[in-house]
Subunit: 224 residues, 2 copies
Amino acid sequence: MKISGLSERSGVTIASIKYYLREGLLFAGRAESSTRSEYDESHVSRLRLIRALIDIGGLSVTAAKAVIDTIDDDEVPIVHAFGVAQHAVSASLTSATPPTEAGLRRVDALKQERGWQTHGRNPGEEIAARVVDAFSAIGRDDLIGLLPAYADAAEIVARADLDATLANGDDRRLMVETVVVGTALGDGLFAGLRRIAQEDIARSFGLPGSSLEPSPLDQNGPAS
Amino acid sequence: MKISGLSERSGVTIASIKYYLREGLLFAGRAESSTRSEYDESHVSRLRLIRALIDIGGLSVTAAKAVIDTIDDDEVPIVHAFGVAQHAVSASLTSATPPTEAGLRRVDALKQERGWQTHGRNPGEEIAARVVDAFSAIGRDDLIGLLPAYADAAEIVARADLDATLANGDDRRLMVETVVVGTALGDGLFAGLRRIAQEDIARSFGLPGSSLEPSPLDQNGPAS
């Protein structure tokens, strides 16, 4: 198909397709002439992956390129793919303000408690430490008590991520894709489910107001 | 203290303080003259909360204001506070592209399976449905199999959030603060811990490459 057909099939504008070609996120089509290339289903699939990473995973174009290069490179070990995905997906969660030593020490203590082994510093340590710092900064050190439950939940999700990866154990490419897609989209999936579970559990505990007021979660409620 | 002292104590620039005063996120100081106000520790605390919500929670100024208004309004029921916090924190996770009916149906089926009750549509449903849509769009419907494990994890975190809230059961203001802070910062805390657990579990399973290569998670690795 021509680039116009590719745009139609994928729902991505021609301008964006050209941009992804230039940036190397999308591989070139088969050149038919100096101004025309022929594209196929593999281009449609790749464009959908690019859009999922950027639109739903919140990755920058640079981060999406790093992730896609990892899928394409047959030499990359799976564990390395986890690393690339973690760094790419963490970029939007880290900031110019580094965590304090106290915050990092608290996260390190949690690692010890859970027996979590990492090689050097995992990007997640900085992200978690900054939240611990924020709890302290607002005078709510008591909220650090949330860490063990969140760690239990993190282990369940990490194991599910790994199981999904190993389910494609005979196909290296599919394994790497699972790692990067799961890491990039899993945060959003968890955040969504957490909100639903939070509303359910708050209601079932009969928190003040839960049976008295129309729900603010209703589309017509004051919070929408 | 003067505004310059407030800036020094809180680490927030005078320009930002004036902006938060104008937007109503920070309550006014005691007027000493037409050009000078006196601020106290309550202003320092409030500024730290504002920065935690914006810098770590990723909230917009508008969303932070909605959250802070909820803390300040003694009439707001706790369950309503959950709703405001959920909407405020979800704004950055939703997008102009609505989820498909198929995606929403899949999330609805999960709610049925878990017995999760919500009043109307919880903002998390849209977020989760869009991830389900993304799995389908890239031809990875098999990843929908991640949902039950993620739901288990979401229930653990939701219960911990609620326990932390109920621990302040004698202080309505502190309860509301716990709800909004926990919701705003909890996503980041979970995302951080998930990455550490993911690396640990991938290594313990001896994924290809895990014992052969220097870790890409190392600060000097190719992915940093």
